[in-house]
Symmetry: D2
Subunit: 142 residues, 4 copies
Amino acid sequence: MVKPTINPEDNWHHTDIRIRYKDTDRMGVVYYGNYLTFFEVGRAEYMRSLGFPYSELEAKGYTLAVTDATAKFHSNVGYDALVTIKTRISKLTRVQVRFTYLVVDEEDRLLVSGETGHVCINEKMKATRMPPDFVQALEEVI
Amino acid sequence: MVKPTINPEDNWHHTDIRIRYKDTDRMGVVYYGNYLTFFEVGRAEYMRSLGFPYSELEAKGYTLAVTDATAKFHSNVGYDALVTIKTRISKLTRVQVRFTYLVVDEEDRLLVSGETGHVCINEKMKATRMPPDFVQALEEVI
Amino acid sequence: MVKPTINPEDNWHHTDIRIRYKDTDRMGVVYYGNYLTFFEVGRAEYMRSLGFPYSELEAKGYTLAVTDATAKFHSNVGYDALVTIKTRISKLTRVQVRFTYLVVDEEDRLLVSGETGHVCINEKMKATRMPPDFVQALEEVI
Amino acid sequence: MVKPTINPEDNWHHTDIRIRYKDTDRMGVVYYGNYLTFFEVGRAEYMRSLGFPYSELEAKGYTLAVTDATAKFHSNVGYDALVTIKTRISKLTRVQVRFTYLVVDEEDRLLVSGETGHVCINEKMKATRMPPDFVQALEEVI
């Protein structure tokens, strides 16, 4: 079942952001490391759309610590561009989740693709199972 | 008495930093907001040189919350430049401290001048007196 | 005459942004220097609403170089908060413009107030008059 | 032959940086995306130590555009820690170069490992051969 928060045409969750002057570097394009911030925005809005804002997960004592991140840079984009972060869950277990991202411009040109891995940890920094209702919500969209 | 950590020629504390690609924006120069980070580096290294690293102050439960910040932008500087952050204390009470900054390039050309105000707060977020030995160390250099 | 882009209740232009994890620091609140980025977003969206996106101004060879910035920090805000940047023009000449900002949270609690000054420069980095139609649009809202 | 800029004990180039308050997030540790900035610092200082500052390469019309980046997060580190970025070249052709990084704390505990790929492009944004003397300098250290 496709949730309304998922784009029915391509099955990805979409979040739009506007490129700030701060995001650019002297090449006139977005600094490569900033895409990891955009990935953060993509997965945060995806989780919010599933009814589990990451801030609430943290308030309950769960943290999705990042274990790894990858990004491939296909094209550049400059100041004031409107880009879309497409986010999808690529892997899910009871303690781990992986998100995949596509960042595209307004013409749907691929700028950056990437992936992040996360392990759920509790307040003692130990790996722990994610809340069952959260896992269930994720299962419905993968 | 001038402490060895203070430059004897100009009576300011000096900290050098190298401009990173990340610091620049599409104008090819340092993004204006990043100078507040440089101010942070300047006062942190100044405090360290006085024997009171800010991290230790925080470990003891004290925070120097920023109340205000000002910056005047005189000249620009680009990627890979080596800049010096000159820091001095411009005002001191038992609960408040103000730092003044001059950021200059290798030719001592003034790039940015600025000031930050701080109030000491405790773990309950209440204004509190700064540790007496810290105040005494600051008094010796103003 | 109040333009539709200006909030009729308070006469400020409003832009909403969501606080990212990246915006926070180890105190759990927005790092002080990041408010200068929020000011940038506020004035960029204000200019866009007036029909003069800053990116178009730059494309025509005009840059609004920042001459000074001030910020007063009244309250903190943390991760995932939705904040509003209220922007207004506080001074205008043919070569200079000043913007004033209020950043508030969802309960309209004042977080940060500030101001930035700008001088219009051309591609030779010389002070130059701003485009007349741009000045006229600004004049109508101050 | 080991160049003096390469640490003779482990055959990596070493660059030290101090963690700034700005680098941390509300978890109290370095925000994951900031390690890509640290990688930038590592490779820039490595290139400088080889006699080819990246700024000079750019001044000659060459850009080492990033094609991909990966990072694995092993341990966290907080404010004011002194970390070492160890950098090495893992692959080299006439148009491409790959850098590998290890970020460690003062006890040599591994924080983050990663890799970035780069392709040399000219001012027309076309892939181009890197300057022969630069390639030769890199060849001597791999």
